[in-house]
C-alpha cells in the first residue's frame, strides 16, 4: 500500500465530484486514516473533519486550519454532481432515503444531505436544491469491541446499550460485536441478526455485505428496526439482535417482543453523557423493557471507540426513580469502571 491510499477513505471519496475528489485522493494516508467526515457546502470552503478538528482543503491539496484565499470552494455544480454520484445517477431509487435526509453508499458510508424540503399534502416527500453534503466515513476496526467484551467477562447475553455522542464510534463497535459474536471470538459462535435500517452496519451493496459481520450473521438490510426485529424473531431464530440507534415507541415494543422470545438485544443510542441519556424518555423506556442489562458510555468524537464507563441498567433506573443522577453507585465510571 502506498502513502496515499486508505481503502475506506478512498471508497467514500469516490462519491465526491471529480474536480474536488482528485484533491482528496492525494491527501496523505495518515490524514485519510483520521478523517471522519468530508463536507461540501455550496459556495463554502471544502472541509474535512478529523479526530483533531476541522480542516479546510486548499488548491495546493493541503489542509489548513482556517480558510484563506487559496481555500477550495465548492460550487452548486460540484454539490449537484456529488449528489447525483451518491444516488448512482438514479435519484428515483433513493427517494425514501432522500426524504429522510441521508443515503448510504457502498461500504456503509452514510451521506447526510441538506436542502429545501418538498411537501405534498403536508408531508415531506423529497428534497430539492441540495445545499450541503456530509460524507461520514464508515470504519471497520477489527477488535474495537474487545475491551468491552473483557470488561463484561465476555458475557453480553443480558443485552447491551451503547451510548455516545455522534461520531463516538457506536456503529464501529456494534459492527465488531456482531463479528466477534458470530465468529465465536469470545466463546461459542452465536446466531446474530443484524437489523441494518440505514445500511451502515453491513454496508450491503447489491445483496452482498461489504463489512465483515462474521460467519453466523444474517443481515436484514433496509428494514425499519421495529419490523426487522419482528421479522428476525419470526424467521431467523437469532440469539442476538443488533441494531443501530433505537428510540421510537414501536421499536421499544419490538424490543419487548424480542425479550419475550429470549433474544439478547444489542443496540446504540445517541447521548453525550449518562445524565443526558437518563433524561431522555425513550432511553428510559428502552432500559425499562429489561432488554438491556448494561449501558456502555462512549467518550466522544475526540477518541472514537473509547469507553468511559459501563453501568448496570437497573442501577441507572433506580437512581432516576429516586431523582438523583450524580455519583452513580459511588463510581463516576459506573459499576464496572472504565473498560
Amino acid at each position: 500500500m502506498d502513502n496515499y491510499s486508505d481503502p475506506r477513505f478512498d471508497s467514500a471519496a469516490k462519491a465526491v465530484c471529480e474536480r474536488i475528489g482528485k484533491y482528496f485522493k492525494l491527501l496523505p494516508r495518515d490524514i485519510k486514516n483520521q478523517t471522519q467526515e468530508l463536507r461540501l457546502r455550496v459556495n463554502k470552503p471544502v472541509s474535512i473533519c478529523c479526530t483533531g478538528g476541522i480542516y479546510f482543503l486548499n488548491y495546493s491539496g493541503r489542509l489548513v486550519c482556517y480558510p484563506d484565499d487559496d481555500t477550495m470552494i465548492a460550487n452548486k455544480g460540484d454539490v449537484e454532481e456529488c449528489f447525483r454520484n451518491i444516488c448512482s445517477y438514479s435519484i428515483y431509487s433513493h427517494q425514501n432515503e432522500i426524504k429522510n435526509g441521508f443515503i448510504t453508499l457502498s461500504g456503509g458510508h452514510r451521506v447526510g444531505i441538506s436542502g429545501t424540503a418538498v411537501f405534498h399534502n403536508g408531508e415531506i416527500t423529497g428534497m430539492r436544491d441540495i445545499s450541503s453534503i456530509n460524507i461520514r466515513i464508515a470504519r471497520e476496526i477489527t477488535g474495537s469491541a474487545t475491551e468491552l467484551f473483557h470488561a463484561l467477562n465476555n458475557d453480553i447475553s443480558g443485552g447491551l446499550l451503547l451510548a455516545g455522542a455522534p461520531a463516538s464510534g457506536k456503529t464501529t463497535i456494534l459492527r465488531d460485536i456482531a463479528r466477534q459474536l458470530s465468529n465465536g471470538t469470545c466463546g461459542d459462535m452465536k446466531k446474530v441478526a443484524v437489523i441494518d435500517e440505514r445500511g451502515e452496519l453491513a454496508g450491503t451493496y447489491m445483496g452482498v455485505p461489504q463489512n465483515d459481520l462474521g460467519v453466523c450473521s444474517d443481515v436484514l438490510d433496509g428494514y425499519p428496526k421495529a419490523e426487522g426485529i419482528m421479522q428476525a424473531i419470526r424467521s431467523l431464530s437469532p440469539e442476538f439482535i443488533i441494531c443501530d440507534e433505537l428510540g421510537g415507541s414501536d421499536e421499544v415494543s419490538a424490543v419487548k417482543q424480542g425479550l419475550n422470545a429470549g433474544v439478547s438485544m444489542i443496540s446504540s443510542i445517541h447521548a453525550g453523557s449518562i445524565e443526558e441519556l437518563m433524561m431522555r424518555k425513550q432511553a428510559v423506556s428502552l432500559l425499562k423493557t429489561g432488554a438491556f442489562g448494561c449501558v456502555a458510555m462512549l467518550n466522544g468524537h475526540a477518541e472514537p471507540g473509547k469507553i468511559t464507563g459501563i453501568y448496570k441498567a437497573g442501577d441507572l433506573l433506580a437512581k432516576t426513580d429516586r431523582g438523583t443522577d450524580s455519583n452513580l453507585c459511588g463510581n463516576p465510571c459506573g459499576i464496572y469502571g472504565v473498560a
Binding site: 438514479s90 431509487s93 427517494q95
Partner: protein, 146 residues
C-alpha cells in the same frame, strides 16, 4: 447498402423503444438504478452494452452513457439527429424522482416512436427505390455488355 442502413435504423430504434419500455417498468416497480437497468436490458444495443461496460469499469453513468453513444451508436443505423436524441435521453436519465423519470421515459418513448414511424416510412419508400435502381442498373449494364 443504403437499403440495409434504413433497415438497421428501424431495428435500432425498435430496440431502443423496447429498452425505454423496460426502463419504465424497472423504475416503476423495482427502482433499479440506471446502471443496472442498462446492464440488464441493454444487451441488444451496442451503445447500451458499451455504456454498461464503462459503468462496470468505474465510470460515472453520465460519462459511460456519452462514450457509449459516441462509440456504439454511430455506424449502427442511427442518424445524427437520433444520436442527439440519445445524448439528451441519457443526460436526464435517473436525474429525478420516480414520477419525473416515468414522464421522462414517456416523453422519449413518444419521440422515438415518431422517429421510428418516419424510419419505417422512409425504409418502405426508399428501399423500393434503391431496389428498382439496382435492377435498372443491372439491366443497363447487361445491355451495354451485349
Amino acid at each position: 447498402m443504403e437499403s440495409h442502413k434504413l433497415a438497421m435504423r428501424v431495428e435500432q430504434l425498435e430496440a431502443f423503444l423496447r429498452f425505454i419500455s423496460a426502463a419504465q417498468t424497472e423504475i416503476r416497480f423495482s427502482a433499479l438504478p440506471v446502471e443496472q437497468i442498462v446492464q440488464k436490458h441493454g444487451e441488444n444495443l451496442e451503445f447500451l452494452r458499451l455504456c454498461g461496460e464503462n459503468c462496470r469499469e468505474g465510470c460515472s453513468f453520465i460519462t459511460a452513457w456519452k462514450s457509449g453513444v459516441n462509440a456504439g451508436a454511430k455506424g449502427k443505423g442511427f442518424n445524427e439527429k437520433d444520436i442527439i436524441l440519445l445524448h439528451d435521453f441519457g443526460s436526464e436519465f435517473g436525474a429525478s424522482d420516480t414520477d419525473g423519470q416515468l414522464s421522462h421515459c414517456s416523453l422519449y418513448y413518444e419521440l422515438v416512436s415518431d422517429r421510428l414511424k418516419n424510419a419505417r416510412e422512409e425504409k418502405t419508400r426508399k428501399s423500393k427505390l434503391y431496389q428498382m435502381l439496382g435492377v435498372f442498373s443491372g439491366m443497363a449494364a447487361a445491355l451495354l455488355l451485349c
